[in-house]
């Protein structure tokens, strides 16, 4: 017992002493690891907690450490279509495909992005909507058409509240402990999401950490969706039986009227 206490104390001292030498970094945790979508789901909020490890005390107090937290939905192939006027009617004309487009993207930070780091770093780390770039299937990224179509993906996703920026959405609880609030909209895509935290010190990128977040339907919604997609034929048969029964019930209930 005493031996164990001594060992623990020794280890604690050792880590504290070594901490001076150790690289600064971050640790993060999520308020929940799973978002469940039931019939009453109208959106929620995810909180990412974290702490800056081995930071320089004076710099922590002076607020020289900055953070960006991104919550990103599963990546997918997206087709963007542009409506064009043909014979007086607006029809879907030119289309462009982009691969690995995040189905949702919500970002929070301690300050506006331009004050956190240089344009080059922000672009490489793909922090903020302006720096998010998608890989076009045809044509290069310098193709002006691709640039226009890519911008429209961001605009459309923003209109549907799937892409969201909240500069200042991260607050410090202590000089090294922080909290990021990220909104999850009602139409959040199903699948594996990733929460990613980036740490900066005086404008320089130091480290990033990530954690997975599962978004899934539960109960009746889950069962119905899975069944409809895996056993479409039998799902159709059930839909027909429900409809026929409803129709029959109506004819019985209202027959006397």
């Amino acid at each position: 017992m005493i031996a164990r206490l001594l060992t623990t104390l020794f280890l604690l001292f050792a880590t504290t002493a070594m901490a001076q030498e150790e690289k600064p970094g971050i640790q993060i945790g999520l308020s929940q690891e799973v978002v469940e979508i039931s019939s009453s789901f109208t959106g929620t909020e995810i909180i990412v907690f974290g702490s800056i490890e081995n930071g320089i005390a004076e710099d922590l107090k002076a607020g020289l450490y900055d953070l960006v937290v991104v919550l990103e939905g599963p990546r997918e192939l997206v087709t963007v279509r542009r409506r064009e006027r043909k014979l007086g009617i607006w029809v879907n004309g030119t289309a462009r495909d982009f691969i690995d487009v995040p189905s949702s993207y919500s970002v929070a930070s301690t300050k506006p992005f331009s004050q956190i780091t240089g344009a080059e770093d922000a672009r490489i780390l793909q922090i903020g909507l302006d720096n998010l770039s998608f890989q076009p299937v045809e044509g290069g990224s310098d193709d002006p058409l691709n640039a226009e179509f890519q911008a429209s993906v961001k605009r459309l996703k923003t209109d549907k509240s799937l892409y969201l920026e909240s500069p200042g959405g991260i607050s410090f609880l202590t000089p090294s402990l922080f909290k990021a609030r990220l909104a999850v909209p009602a139409n959040v895509p199903i699948g594996q999401h990733t929460a990613r935290a980036f740490m900066f010190h005086k404008g320089k990128f130091i480290e990033s950490q990530f954690l997975p977040l599962t978004v899934k339907k539960i109960g009746f919604e889950q069962f119905t969706y899975d069944f409809a997609h895996e056993h479409g034929f039998w799902f159709g048969i059930i839909c027909v039986i429900v409809a026929a029964f409803t129709g029959w019930l109506a004819s019985v209930v209202f027959r006397k009227n």
Partner: protein
Amino acid sequence: MLVNLYLPIAEMSVNVLVLFSMGAGVGFLSGMFGVGGGFLMTPLLIFYNIPPAVAVATEANQIVASSFSGALAHLRRAAVDIKLGIMLLVGGIAGSAAGVVIFSALREAGQLDLIISILYVLFLGTIGTLMVIESLGAIRKARKAAASGEEVAPTALPTHRPWIANLPFKMRFERSQLYLSVIPVLVLGFLVGILASIMGVGGGFIMVPAMIYLLRVPTNVVIGTSLFQIMFVTMFTTVAQAATNQTVDIVLAFILMVGGVIGAQFGAHAGQKLKGEQLRALLGLIVLAVCLRMGWDLVTTPDELFSLGTGGH
């Protein structure tokens, strides 16, 4: 109270009261006018931002419920020519299957929403105009007759239909007392089947006039036989859409069904208080209003030129 509901297939949160009211409202009109209502319900669902693919397939499922209760009532009164209904059904199932294939292809090409809108504008525009012209003529005639105190003789149908009478593969339909080639029957069923898959309508608004004017089916069995065929074709369409495109939303369909059957009961009572030609004029105007709204969306410059899809082009 549960007002917002998440639809499992459409994958969106909707207001149950709004959808129920839409079902009841269209049900009221269909009870009043004796029409299926699919051609009004599908555009309304699209106006409510339900994806057109889901709206069309789900509406086919709702029509199963309304046509089933209607067909049962007509079967009890033996007002169905089952043999004719089965021949229409053979054509209808082939048409519906073809329609589901066309539907999938258009969806992949990104042109499904456009084709649905164009078809609606064409059909609603034509039928609405014909209904308004015909009913206004009937109202004028009734007024003139009332003024002169004479009985109005119903317009007699021309008795000959040479091109249809000369077609081969004739078949006897005892209930309708018809000796008729199966070709126009199969073709009519086929065309209506395609409409069921692509537009989410029962097709009664085409089938009933075609049966009366082209096939000369006696009016006492027309509605029952048409409902009999619509019921089975929409059953087939529901299963085919569910198996191929996974676009039947059972929760949405159920809300609409319940609203629809209740609304239809009140509509039927209200309909008895209005004159036939006034009813037809009113329905014609409603049909034209929906047509104009859809047509307007096709020709005006949209606020947003771009749209997103998944799965490539």
